[in-house]
């Protein structure tokens, strides 16, 4: 009885420490975004603010074209998500279910693209887009991520886990290949789809490198580029304004996480229906 209580207390404490480790930086960001510049530099620091400085947020919007950049971020992110759905799902399905000439070679080739660092191909890619006069277009931001080897790999593994009999039953139920993919396989793979979409969403939403390389004007730049520009402003760094920008940047990610939580857990504990 006593030991049980101790064990539970220990477990609770460990959980609390974990929560603190993950939560503290986040709390610090929100806190800093509500401080005055003077408070951000104070030593020892304050762990609470009594008069939150909401004007830091309007300051963000004054210094950068926030809403236009938000729009750019949304367009690029949705564009990439849609393109990946269209390319990744059929490719993964084909790799998982069909043996065709060169299928394993092509799959190997797909996987090797994961091993090439972005820093190695950004120059040729930039030159290519600039020759096609596509710099400063949404297409140049979307196309490099229009497919994903990692997502193809993950989806293929998920499709492969589905017992053959289910597909065979569907074939006997008069379903064509496209219908089997959409109505039978995709719903089974839903947790993986949601997780991959979330990973892609976060990666795209936070991506700084590609938008920086492939844009020269604010008209097509996305939020991360804009937020970084905040601390370049006026020489010194206004941490409070910078953090306010960051808060605005992560809000959509938080919302997405909140809604996808259940599916993510499912994706990593996939149990087939035997």
């Amino acid at each position: 009885m006593k030991r049980n209580v101790l064990r539970r207390a220990g477990r609770g404490l460990a959980g609390l420490i974990l929560v603190l480790i993950f939560f503290a930086p986040f709390y610090w960001m929100v806190l800093t975004s509500l401080k005055t510049l003077g408070q951000t530099l104070k030593m020892p620091p304050d762990f609470w603010v009594s008069d939150p400085q909401w004007r830091n947020f309007s300051e963000v919007m004054r210094r950068i074209p926030f809403f236009s950049m938000l729009k750019n971020s949304i367009i690029v992110t949705i564009g990439i998500l849609v393109c990946q759905c269209l390319t990744v799902i059929p490719a993964a399905y084909a790799f998982a279910r069909f043996q065709f000439r060169g299928s394993s070679f092509l799959f190997g080739l797909t996987l090797t693209t994961m091993m090439i660092p972005a820093q190695m191909i950004f120059l040729p890619l930039f030159l290519m887009f600039s020759k096609m006069q596509m710099i400063n277009t949404y297409a140049s931001l979307i196309l490099p991520s229009a497919s994903s080897a990692f997502a193809i790999f993950m989806m293929r593994q998920t499709f492969k886990q589905v017992p053959d009999e289910i597909v065979e039953a569907a074939r006997l139920d008069h379903a064509g290949e496209f219908k089997i993919m959409c109505r039978v396989m995709l719903p089974i793979a839903r947790p993986t789809v949601v997780t991959l979409a979330l990973i892609t969403f976060i990666a795209t939403w936070n991506d700084y490198f590609w938008p920086l390389v492939l844009t020269t004007k604010d008209t097509v730049r996305t939020l991360p580029v804009g937020i970084t520009a905040l601390h370049l402003d006026e020489g010194g760094i206004d941490y409070n304004v910078l953090m306010a920008g960051n808060v605005l940047l992560v809000i959509p990610v938080m919302i997405a996480f909140f809604f996808a939580q259940k599916q993510i857990i499912k994706a990593f504990t996939y149990i087939g229906d035997k």
Binding site: P163, I166, E168, A169, R171, L172, I188
Partner: protein
């Protein structure tokens, strides 16, 4: 009339030696044909070729007299029930049953009517909105059955549908299947490795070994007139006792000169009780009891004789003492097999 016909069918996977070679088989319309055999005998492969899930390497497969090579599984008017149920996990029971009908573009009112009818028939009425994960094994197999029946196919293909169920449920669903077969008036092709299932379900049994047909016949024929040692051994529980004819000849027992093996069923021998010499139409074997198994309505004895070990099933519930006993078998219950292990008719 033959519903399904296999002509010189050969099936090989990749470049391996064929699992089935030059197989000929006719399945008559309205029959309940059971493909029976040990694992790896090719019975499931045959079923899958009929379904169109597996392509024959050579030969012709006819359904209703028409060659169906190249005909999609969905267009063969067959329905299949799988061993592991193969339900669509993301659809509920109703959607599982409805999927095939939707793909056939059957109007909604008709679909509803059929689903209600079938759900009642297989006893799933109250589970229609459940997901497969929320059902027991028996209920899942009923959904799989309903999904097959609802399409009103001319042929039902069943691939060991009962082997994932526990023993009690298996007997129950087996009886349900027999009832269903009588009700539906369709052709059943049923694959199993369980001879009891085969005997009870089949109007015809096709016994297979290593991709070859060993015997085709009705259950009484397969049991009572085994054509070879394999059939004799495979059917019956425990299987037929097979003794060496040489040994029996040496003991001056009347055995046809060309016989190599002599067989008799454990339930056709009687043990103990009669100490007297065998009657004219009987042979007697002496042996010691090695083990006794009380099975409720019968006792199974394992007997060591000079001719080898054999089993005797006795319905006399007075358990015999361990020790030497005499076993009597009627001459008419003895089977003789020649060198090729084929039965000799004497």
């Amino acid at each position: 009339m033959d519903k399904i016909e296999l002509r010189n069918i050969t099936k090989a996977y990749a470049k391996n030696p064929p699992v089935i070679e030059n197989l000929n088989l006719k399945i008559s319309e309205g029959s309940s044909t059971v493909l029976l055999g040990p694992s790896g005998c090719g019975k499931s492969t045959i079923l899958r070729m009929i379904a169109g899930l597996e392509k024959e390497t050579a030969g012709e497969l006819l359904i209703d007299g028409k060659n169906v090579s190249g005909v999609e599984p969905g267009d063969r008017h067959v329905a299949m029930v799988f061993q592991n149920y193969a339900l669509y996990p993301t659809m509920n029971v109703k959607e599982n049953i409805e999927f095939g009908l939707k793909n056939l573009r059957i109007p909604k009112a008709e679909r509803e009517k059929r689903i209600q009818e079938i759900a009642k028939m297989v006893g799933l009425g109250e589970y229609l909105s459940r997901k497969p994960q929320q059902l027991s094994g028996g209920q899942r197999q009923r959904v799989a059955l309903a999904r097959a029946i609802v399409k009103k196919p001319a042929v039902f293909l069943m691939d060991e549908p009962l082997s994932n169920l526990d023993a009690k449920l298996r007997n129950q669903i087996r009886t349900d299947l027999i009832e269903l077969y009588r009700k539906l008036n369709a052709t059943f092709v049923y694959v199993t490795h369980d001879q009891v299932e085969a005997m009870s379900m089949g109007t015809d049994i096709v016994l297979l070994e290593k991709g070859e047909i060993r015997q085709i016949g009705s259950p009484p024929e397969i049991y009572g007139k085994p054509e070879n040692v394999f059939t004799a051994r495979f059917i019956g529980s425990p299987s037929m006792n097979i003794l060496s004819a040489e040994e029996l000849k040496r003991a001056d027992l009347p055995v046809p000169p060309k016989a190599k093996y002599v067989g008799f069923r454990p339930e056709k021998a009687s043990i103990g009780g009669r100490e007297k010499a065998p009657r004219e139409n009987e042979v007697a074997l002496q042996g010691t009891i090695l083990a006794r198994e009380m099975l409720g309505d019968q006792i199974l004895y394992k007997v060591q004789s000079p001719f080898g070990v054999f089993h005797v099933k006795s319905f006399d519930l007075q358990m015999l003492e361990y020790g030497t006993n005499s076993v009597l078998i009627k001459n008419s219950d003895l089977f003789y097999f020649d060198e090729e292990e084929n039965r000799m008719v004497c």
